[in-house]
Every structure is written in C-alpha cells, then in structure tokens.
Symmetry: C2
Subunit: 129 residues, 2 copies
DNA sequence: CATGTCCTACTACACCAGTAAGAGCCTAGC
DNA sequence: GCTAGGCTCTTACTGGTGTAGTAGGACATG
C-alpha cells in the first residue's frame, strides 16, 4: 500500500503540505478560503486519517502543537490520480482528449508543451537503448 | 441535478447500456467478465440507484423482466468525469499532461489528434464570430 | 498561580458505494 | 394446474469520507 488512495479533501490537505512544507493543523485549516472552510476538528480528523495511511507524519512539536509533513510526493499522488481516472475510461485516451479540448480545458500551449515533452522522452529513450 | 455523480461501478453499468442499448439486469451482470463479477442482486441494487438518480429508466418489460435504458449520454457523463478530475488539480492542465506523457499513456498520435481538433475548433469559433 | 485560549484525543453520526441474502411473485413448460 | 427457475423488492451490513462536538491537557500572561 505504498500509494494510498486519497480523497478530494485529503488531497487538498496534502496540497498545503506540498506547498508550504511542514505545517500545523491550524495553518492547514486557515489556508482553506475563509468561506466554506471545514471546521478545525474536521481538518484534524482528516490529518489523523492521512497519518494512518502513512501519507504524512508528525515531524516535531511547537509548544503543544504537532507539525505535520508529507510522506508521499505530489508527483506520486498525481500519478495515482491519473491512473485511477484513466481506468474509468478503460485506459482509452481518445475520448478524454476530445473532451478536454471540447471543453476548452486544453490550450494550444498545453499541446505544444506535450509535443515537446514527447520528443524529449523519445530522445531519452533512444539514448538509453 | 441534471448530471448526477456516478461511481466506478455505476459507470460500468452505464457503459453496458451505452454499448448495447436497452438491456435487462441479467445481461448487464453477465457482460462483466465471468471472474470477479458482482452478484446479480448487486448489479440490481446499482441499477435501482441509477434509476433513483435518473441516469436510466425502465423502458419496457419482457416477460416479468424489466429492460433498462440510459437517460444520460455517454458524452455528458464523460464531461462530468473530466470536470471532476480537473478540479482535483485546480484546473491546471500542465501537471496532468506531464503525468500522462511520463506514464506513456499519451502517444504522439494522441497529441497529433489533439492538435488537429484544436485547429478545427479554432476555425469553427472564427466562423461563428 | 489563576484563568482563558488553544490544541489534542476521542467519539459520534450521516451519507454513499459496494456487497449481497431472503422472501415472494410470475411464467413457462410439463 | 403444478412446479422450477428466474426476476423483483426489500432489507441489511461494511467501509470510507465528510462533518463536527466534547473533554481534558498545556501554555502563556497578567
């Protein structure tokens, strides 16, 4: 279970740790926009559960407050998400891309970047071989 | 609630309806691979819940068996999925694309197709304006 | 040192997805 | 008409997520 499944709210909490580094619960909670933010103890519960999933750990204490730090990388978690998502489409990219473009989520810059990355990847592969 | 949220299993059931058209529960269940397929009543429960969500409806009966048909389109459901997914990334495509390419999920053909579609879309927009 | 504030740890609950068993109804075939 | 098999409906339990309250310990500051 090296890469536990993370829910939306759990992800948002991890985002804070990834962005800011080791953080206390209070700071995590406050980094949610003031309106519609979950209660302190809600964030706390989620952090505890993330601890159980080994997604983060208590790094140290400041006063009596724990400071938590991420144990899994943003990249790893995102890779997991993408996998999960693709499996819903049976791994077929075509409808996904089509949808992204139709909805205007994909700019020509995104596509250009993709091309560039693809070329780099191909070059890297060739070198390795 | 025109576009209800569908879970993985619910999606798989809808896939059958989208592929085969109006279908009985027995046929839906059997279209899951013989190994690891959910029990008949499990599929039934999901179908009932999908009915509650207005994702499908009873079209007619054959004997005493109901035949169900999809009420929402595959495209609409997929659009919903993509939105949902993107919101996890705060709508930023860059990490998503990067991940897709790194993991080898995105071929150069996919990217070429994307480019083509983008150009078509741009042309269409221009015409409309 | 007293007291208010903040944090922790625990408990609780509702909802949803997934799973399925059980009771009983309908129908087809003998 | 009777019976077997399939289908419907109902009910139920589990695990995960989101939500939060409460009790009590720690700490800082007057």
């Amino acid at each position: 279970m090296r890469l536990p499944k993370l829910s939306k709210l759990e992800l948002q909490i991890m985002e804070v740790l990834w962005d800011k580094g080791p953080t206390a619960i209070r700071d995590i909670q406050e980094s949610f926009g003031a309106k519609g933010r979950p209660a302190y103890t809600t964030v706390q519960t989620m952090v505890y559960r993330l601890e159980g999933k080994k997604a983060l750990r208590r790094a140290r204490k400041i006063g009596n407050a724990h400071i938590f730090e991420a144990l899994i990388s943003r990249d790893a978690a995102q890779a997991r998400l993408v996998d999960e998502f693709l499996s819903l489409f049976g791994g077929r990219m075509q409808p996904v891309m089509a949808q992204l473009i139709e909805a205007g989520n994909l700019s020509s810059k995104d596509v250009a970047d993709a091309e560039k990355l693809l070329r780099e990847l191909a070059a890297r592969k060739k070198k390795e071989a």
